[in-house]
């Protein structure tokens, strides 16, 4: 079993929460000391975090993209929007406590070539920030949100010398006025490849335009999960090759696999 674990480089363990930051009223950043997860993490992969159980109320683990992973310090960071029971419970955990985490899971992004365009809609920025941090080549990074309050990602995570950041808000309260899609359409002609994560409607447009213009593109998809490791078949999405599992065949898919006939 040790060997299998080593080969798959996935671990299940209790890890200490080192740092918690609540950003605005809706966002939370958690940093764990999880060397075995951080050491193996690839951009686009995710972890299952098991919320602390409250008495008889048992709660399923929640999937979160890896937002940052530092091999040297063994630190693993996730960044999430507090939208329901699980994320609320997680946001209440205090530094010093241990939480059960399984990961890194799933298939991540390929290495982006110079001139790639990263398109993040809302909290979809999480895996793309890690992707951007993993390379030195020049990248364009579109970060689109509804309003300035949703602009949750601390800038020190995205302010990298290789990265041209394009901020856009739907109400114009920060950066450009418009949507991530508007900016994407403008920058697509110069893009070597596209990497996107965000709402399904945004991904559909990104996928269609990339397929039409022949630009290679990858998207990170979401589905509700139970096991997170490919066993239960609960997180299926329709693909060119039939139903595939977001947790283990994805969450990153090339657009031509999941957006055939213009939709999933």
């Amino acid at each position: 079993m040790r060997l299998l674990e080593a080969l798959n480089r996935v671990s299940l363990g209790q890890y200490t929460l080192l740092e918690k930051e609540i950003i605005g009223s809706q966002y939370c950043r958690l940093v764990f000391l999880a060397p075995s997860v951080a050491g193996a993490a690839q951009p686009g992969q995710f972890v299952m975090i098991y919320p602390p159980n409250a008495g008889v109320q048992k709660i399923l683990p929640r999937p979160f993209s890896i937002f940052a992973a530092d091999r040297e310090t063994g630190q693993l960071t996730v960044f999430f929007r507090i939208i329901g029971t699980g994320t609320a419970l997680l946001s209440l955990s205090e530094p010093g406590t241990e939480l059960k985490i399984m990961g890194p899971l799933g298939k991540g992004f390929p290495v982006p070539p110079a001139g790639s365009l990263l398109v993040a809609g809302g909290i979809g920025m999480a895996p793309l920030v890690f992707l951007a941090a993993s390379v030195k080549v020049e990248l364009n990074f579109i970060y689109g949100v509804a309003n300035s309050e949703q602009f949750s990602c601390p800038l020190d995570y995205i302010n990298q010398p290789n990265l041209v950041l394009h901020e856009v808000t739907e109400d114009g309260s920060r950066g450009e006025l418009g949507s991530a899609v508007d900016l994407f359409r403008r920058l697509l002609p110069r893009a070597e490849a596209v990497f996107a994560c965000g709402p399904r409607t945004m991904l559909e447009i990104v996928a269609r335009d990339c397929l039409d213009s022949g630009v290679a593109a990858w998207v990170s998809l979401e589905e509700r999960m139970a096991c997170g490791i490919g066993a239960c078949r609960g997180c299926a999405v329709m693909t060119k090759n039939g139903y595939q599992r977001v947790c283990s065949d994805g969450p990153v898919f090339p657009v031509e696999e999941v957006f055939f006939h213009g939709r999933t």
Partner: protein, 313 residues
């Protein structure tokens, strides 16, 4: 005191521990062992296998409920040939006994899978999932009707010499009647329960949450229901019982044994804790040791001593 003896004989399958992985949540049987050792399992029951591949239901296929979850996977599986060529050789190397859960749309399909698996090295038993809709009976589940239950169990029995588990659906008016019917038709073990039928509605979209509208409820929420059905069936049949439904601890597992189950299966509990089999094994052993009980078999049905048929309300 020496380590208590956890070995059990489940209808002819000799198990090192009374802890099994339930069919479905444990997938093909090959995913979980990569994450958590499977040494605590006496047997793995692999996900339902049909003659031909089944696509499964449209997403969303899962939604969490109060202490449980609803699923409408739709018995997606790669079919018998893929199972035999690809999964079985790897499963044989794991250690636990392998029981294959079989499914079909017609009696003939069930019989065909049973016939192909009979005598295959590495297959230690079959579990017939009779919760499948019967194509020829307007989609009524085989396991909700005694005549259909008898028909499918007899057809499978005729095709195999392997120990035969028959897995009951709880969505019936009289579980004991179906259990008795399955026993008379040749079941060596009665497994129960499968998921309870249910649904949820999204009030924003004004439509059912699951792509398939209806799903099966599992997890801690159903544990008391499952336990009572095991108790009732233990009263009726003389073959051993494999109990399951919402087990998330050794304490839950012990309740099933005391209600009359010979062994237990862990399903959704694995989602909350992939290392559950190990914990249940240690917890059961610890309980027996504390009480000076040398063997698990001594407490099978132990809570039933003073049982009556009275059911309040």
């Amino acid at each position: 005191m020496a380590e208590p003896d956890l070995r059990v004989n489940l209808g002819g399958i000799k198990l090192q521990t009374p802890i099994l992985a339930a069919s479905g949540p444990y997938g093909s049987g090959l995913e979980y062992p990569k994450m958590a050792p499977c040494g605590a399992l006496g047997a793995i029951i692999v996900k339902g296998i049909s003659v031909d591949p089944w696509l499964g239901n449209p997403p969303p296929r899962l939604v969490e409920t109060a202490s449980g979850l609803l699923n409408s996977i739709g018995l997606q599986n790669p079919g018998l040939k893929f199972f035999v060529d690809h999964d079985l050789p790897a499963l044989r190397k794991l250690g636990p006994k392998i029981i294959v859960n079989i499914i079909g749309r017609t009696v003939e399909e069930y019989a065909a899978v049973a016939s192909e698996l009979n005598g295959l090295p590495g297959v230690d038993g079959l579990e017939v999932n009779i919760s499948c809709p019967n194509l020829k009976a307007g989609g009524m589940a085989f396991g909700t009707n005694p005549a259909l239950t008898a028909e499918v169990v007899k057809a499978v029995r005729a095709k195999t010499v392997l120990p035969l588990l028959v897995k009951l659906t709880p969505n019936v008016t009289d579980i004991a009647l179906i259990a008795k019917t399955a026993e008379e038709a040749g079941a060596d073990v009665i497994s129960l329960i499968n998921t309870l039928s249910g649904m949820l509605i999204d009030i924003e979209k004004v439509e059912p949450v699951l792509g398939n509208a209806f799903g099966g409820l599992s997890g801690p929420a159903i544990m008391p229901v499952a336990l009572k059905m095991v108790w009732q069936v233990a009263e009726t049949v003389s073959v051993p019982i494999l109990g399951m439904g919402g087990i998330t601890s050794a304490e839950d597992a012990l309740q099933f044994i005391m209600a009359g189950a010979r062994a237990v299966a862990l399903g959704s509990g694995l989602f909350y804790d992939p290392a559950l089999p190990d914990k249940v094994k240690k917890g059961i052993a610890g309980y027996l040791q504390r009480r000076g009980i040398s063997s698990l078999s001594l407490i099978e049905g132990s809570a039933r001593k003073g049982d009556t048929n009275n059911e309040p309300c």
